[in-house]
């Protein structure tokens, strides 16, 4: 055993360069694999920790065949549980909008508040450390806080029973402490209050008296716990029938059909509501990349071992002749592989620890790695085993089966029988690398295109802040802001970043085809908006007089889809009731959603109390002074809230964060892939140059110039890379074309993309190959010939 180990170490050392190439290649690729595995593990673990995981469903409201809301009206689940035995329990979850918690005159910001039903801890496996699961909330003014927040607010004090005040001025008593919700949960809050708290916004004067009666507000997530063998499809259709029936019974002339969908909670993270495996595709993509990168490194190993097999062959032949048995030889070779693998794994562990912080930043996650963690050990063990099989067994069998006499005899043609196999593997390596490079280029170009795309409005120099209590004081706020000479305009839009997040159906207009209900996106704004954002009015004009509820504007797409002949002046009813509003003008289409989607019909109304965001345009100078003005106003109107502002110029980064992350990760992976491929190529060229030293010397004596020799050595590899390109291009086109279908606005993949990828690969190949080639070509031929 020790004897073998000594020989193995000696062998690795005597082939220094090749050992280093293999160790580095394996270490880098296993590192990447582990990093990807961590990412995949994290993605797949989302929402899987609930014992009831398989029976928890999130109800989605199906607006049209392709528009889903992840929310429902609040009363639905109450009625549903009463009617359907399949529903064991339900829990509604809503965002409880508060900015801080106050205790002992100290304010604590940065909390996520959720309003939930008391069934919360019975349905979900979040851990309640203190408190009573059966009686979670004593009354509507009870609050459960997370362990971390409890520490932050109360320090060493016992939080139970203590009173804290939220920014909405309501005091809550702490009735429970929960473990922090895991990062891989789609439901994450720091503090939980009872759902009934939301009743406070129902003053009793509105149309709906209580939240549990309000069928019009689709703001609440509903989770259902079904009986173990219940059929969720039938539950969702029953929900639709039930709500349609209930709404009709309520009168109000509703003739709408309601449809809902049930999505398993465990699928929430990786599937979009319409069932498309949006997130899962990325998991697959990265898993495939991990496998490819390992494959590339293993190919290096196999290639370098087989390339040198004739040399090793002699050693093994001698051992065989001197009586070594095959298993012994096999073991020796496996031991060499294991030793090499061991060295690279040691580097891998160091690399993973070193790179994890950067990787977390790059991927936007908070993953941790601990080798002694069972799952890490599993990842590690599995990867190691795979590599060991791929790298060890083939060369070992190959060398083990060496015919001694063949190894000694002068091979008559000098051709190594494994040369074609090796060439095929190099082609395979480069095919993978080129596909990844193409992917990086195309996705990069697509993102660039999205970023530069004219959205139909100008987002430059726009700062947005939520209005909150500035609402209702718009004129005063605007006039105050306009006093700052760096402010060139002010307006309001109902959503941040000109993205419209609400939609409605049941709009009616003259000539509407009753069988074809349209979904309209709805936004509220101010008269200054079209000019501020540079959105042209293509027909008609802004509504007259002061903002009110009698006028709306449409976008061109709405007019087109409504098939309105004379849109300006048309009267439409937003709720299919008899209240008609007049269309005063048509706005040119602009993109108010991610560019994955086409422009949809839009209704903009101009109401006095428009909740929403203040849009402030600066002259491009004195941004700080504008922010100061905004902050002053903020302190005046919203003293209880944290001042936060947003530059619309940053909009792209935020909106396409996941796309940007994918692109970044992909580019790192393709760099790794091409790096390892080139490393292998370097080894092969070095080997070729080494074995051809004498031939090169002879050729130089025969008149070959340096460039003749470099050509001779590089040509073969360039041809292989050329073949790899021919294979990679169509495959990459197929893949990327499919991926681009996710975007309504996309680039077309044209030949310059392939040319660029081809040039990058060729340049890198040439660089890798020519170094050794030039070294060999400039060697003194007299010496080259003499050696032997």
């Amino acid at each position: 055993m020790f004897y073998n180990l000594k020989i193995a170490i000696r062998n690795l050392r005597s082939n220094g360069l090749y050992s280093i190439i293999n160790i580095i290649g394996l270490a880098v690729s296993v590192t990447v694999c582990i990093l990807i595995a961590l990412w995949v593990k994290d993605e797949l673990s989302f929402d899987k920790f609930h014992e009831n995981e398989k029976n928890i469903y999130l109800v989605g409201t199906k607006q049209t065949d392709d528009i889903y809301w992840a929310t429902t009206p609040a009363p639905m689940s109450i009625f549903a549980k009463a009617e359907m035995p399949e529903i064991k329990d339900y829990c509604r979850i809503a965002w409880y909008d508060n900015s801080y918690v106050e205790y002992n005159n100290k304010k604590f910001y940065g909390n996520d508040f959720g309003a939930v039903d008391s069934s919360f801890f019975r349905i979900f496996d979040f851990q309640l450390l203190e408190g009573n699961i059966q009686e979670l909330f004593k009354d509507a003014q009870s609050i459960i806080i997370s362990e971390t927040k409890a520490k932050a607010i109360f320090g060493e004090e016992d939080p139970m029973g203590k009173l804290i005040r939220l920014s909405n001025d309501i005091s809550f008593q702490v009735t429970g402490i929960m473990k922090d919700m895991p990062k891989n949960s789609s439901i994450r809050y720091d503090m939980l209050v009872p759902f009934e708290v939301l009743n406070k916004t129902y003053g009793g004067n509105g149309f709906w008296k209580r939240i549990d009666d309000d069928w019009g507000n689709y703001s609440y997530r509903t989770c259902l716990l079904l009986q173990p063998n219940a059929d969720h499809q039938s539950v969702s259709s029953k929900l639709g029938e039930m709500v349609t029936r209930l709404r009709q019974e309520q009168g109000s002339g509703m003739r709408m059909t309601f449809r809902f969908s049930l999505q398993p909670l465990a699928k929430l993270h990786l599937y979009s509501l319409d069932g498309k495996p949006a997130g899962l595709e990325k998991v697959y993509l990265f898993s495939i990349i991990a496998v490819l990168i390992i494959l590339i490194a293993c190919i290096n190993y196999v290639n370098l071992v087989t390339a040198r097999s004739s040399k090793r062959g002699k050693e093994i032949a001698i051992r065989k002749i001197s009586g070594a048995k095959l298993p012994g030889l096999f073991r020796q070779l496996m031991e060499e592989t294991a030793l090499l693998l061991f060295a690279s794994l040691a580097i891998t562990i160091a690399l993973v620890y070193l790179l994890l912080p950067f990787y977390n930043e790059l991927s936007g996650k908070e993953m941790s790695f601990n080798i002694f963690d069972p799952s890490s050990l599993l990842i590690f063990g599995a990867t190691t085993l795979c590599v060991l099989c791929l790298t060890g067994i083939y060369p070992a069998i190959l060398l083990g089966s060496f015919k001694p006499m063949e190894a000694f005899g002068r091979s008559s043609t000098g051709k190594n029988k494994h040369i074609y196999f090796r060439k095929a593997l190099v082609v395979l390596q480069f095919t993978c690398s080129i596909i990844l490079i193409l992917g990086t280029i195309v996705i990069g170009k697509q993102l660039d295109y999205l970023q530069k795309k004219n959205l139909g409005y100008s987002k430059e120099n726009i700062i947005t802040v939520p209005q909150m209590k500035m609402q209702g004081h718009y004129d005063a706020v605007r006039d105050e802001l306009l006093k700052n000479k760096n402010v060139s305009g002010v307006s309001v839009f109902s959503f941040d970043n000109m993205t419209v997040g609400s939609s409605r159906m049941g709009v009616s207009w003259p000539g509407k085809d009753e069988n074809n209900d349209l979904v309209f996106h709805c936004a509220w704004s101010r008269f200054e908006m079209p000019e501020l954002m540079n959105i042209p009015i293509v027909e008609g004009k802004l509504p007259p007089g002061t903002p009110g509820e009698n006028y709306v504007m449409l976008n061109e797409e709405a007019v087109k889809q409504m098939k309105l002949e004379n849109p300006v002046g048309a009267k439409i009813s937003l709720n299919s009731d008899n209240n008609y509003v007049e269309v005063t003008g048509i706005l040119k289409d602009f993109n108010f959603a991610k560019l994955n989607e086409n422009i949809k019909p839009l209704i903009i109304s101009f109401t006095d109390n428009s909740w929403g965001y203040l849009y402030v345009k600066t002259t491009g100078e004195g941004t700080q002074s504008v922010i100061a003005s905004l902050e002053k106003l903020w302190k005046q109107y919203n003293p209880d809230y944290e001042f936060n502002y947003n530059f619309m110029d940053d909009f792209f980064e935020k909106t396409y964060r996941t796309d940007i992350q994918t692109e970044r990760l992909l580019s790192v992976f393709s760099i790794v892939a091409i790096f390892i491929s080139c490393l292998g190529l370097f080894g092969l060229v070095t080997y070729t140059a080494e074995t051809k030293t004498k031939e090169i010397g002879i050729r130089k004596v025969l008149g070959a110039s340096v460039s003749n020799i470099v050509n001779m050595l590089s040509k073969e590899f360039l041809i292989l890379v050329g073949i790899a390109m021919l294979i990679a291009f169509p495959l990459a086109y197929f893949w990327l074309d499919k991926m681009l279908q996710d975007y309504a606005y996309r680039i077309s993949i044209t030949w310059p993309v392939f040319a660029l990828a081809g040039m990058i690969t060729l340049a890198l190949t040439l660089l890798t190959v020519s170094w050794q080639a030039i070294k060999a070509a400039t060697a003194n031929p007299v010496k080259s010939i003499k050696t032997e």
């Binding site: 002068r410 008559s412 043609t413 000098g414 051709k415 004498k694 031939e695 002879i698 050729r699 130089k700 004596v701 025969l702 008149g703 070959a704 110039s705 003749n708 003194n780 031929p781 007299v782 010939i785 032997e788």
Partner: protein, 225 residues
């Protein structure tokens, strides 16, 4: 008789730990066009070194070397190898054929570096095969030939570019005397009928006698009798 090459005080040394080891010292030679020279001397006396320098494969440290009126010593590497390529053919004791290539391909190789068209190359190679009576062996690999046959291929390969100067480093060293004689006859004929200048290194007095002049080398220095 026109001078083909001329060396003046040609000296080569290598630096070793303690000092310089002289491989060649103050070599002064004048070789005319059409001469057939034999270099003799004991093993390690610098014969190969001298031949390599004359063949412009190796460098020297001091002295002058003029080839066909051109100063090799002040030439750039690129021009030197150009001069080598155009004018010099090499033959080795160990043949130094390329194992992976057939006889025909081996002979063709130098022509590739002379930018000759493929059809022209084929014709030239065919001529050579014919001349050395190895047409039947053209598709064999070096390993499939006897030593004498390999050396014939080596000679054919050296001559295919029609060099002015043929350098042969112990060309018969690995051959039996009959094969050696054959090679010497070829050299002699080449020299007489085609006027190719030949410089050969040999240990055999008999072979040396084929030449018209013998240069004796001892410890890197020419011996004048």
């Amino acid at each position: 008789m026109n001078t083909l090459l001329e060396t003046k005080h040609l000296t080569k040394w290598v630096n070793s730990g303690s000092g310089r080891i002289f491989l060649l010292r103050d070599i002064n030679l004048t070789i005319g066009q059409g001469e057939f020279i034999s270099i003799m001397g004991p093993s390690g006396s610098g014969k190969s070194t001298l031949l390599n320098i004359l063949g412009m494969l190796d460098e020297f440290n001091e002295g002058e070397y003029n080839f066909f009126g051109r100063e090799v010593h002040s030439m750039k590497e690129k021009h030197r190898s150009e001069l080598h390529k155009e004018n010099i053919g090499f033959i080795f004791q160990a043949y130094h054929l390329i194992d992976e290539l057939t006889v025909q391909e081996n002979i063709e190789t130098p022509l590739m570096y002379h930018n000759m068209k493929s059809s022209e190359r084929k014709a030239t190679v065919a001529d050579m095969l014919d001349r050395f009576n190895i047409v039947g062996k053209k598709d064999l690999f070096p390993a499939q030939l006897s030593g004498g046959q390999q050396q014939l291929v080596g000679i054919a390969r050296a001559l295919v570019v029609k060099p002015k100067l043929l350098l042969a480093d112990e060309p018969t060293g690995n051959l039996n005397s009959k094969q050696g004689e054959e090679i010497m006859e070829i050299f002699s004929k080449l020299n007489r009928e085609e006027g190719v200048t030949i410089i050969q290194v040999t240990h055999s007095e008999k072979n040396a006698a084929y030449g018209n002049r013998i240069i004796h080398l001892l410890d890197g220095m020419t011996q004048n009798y």
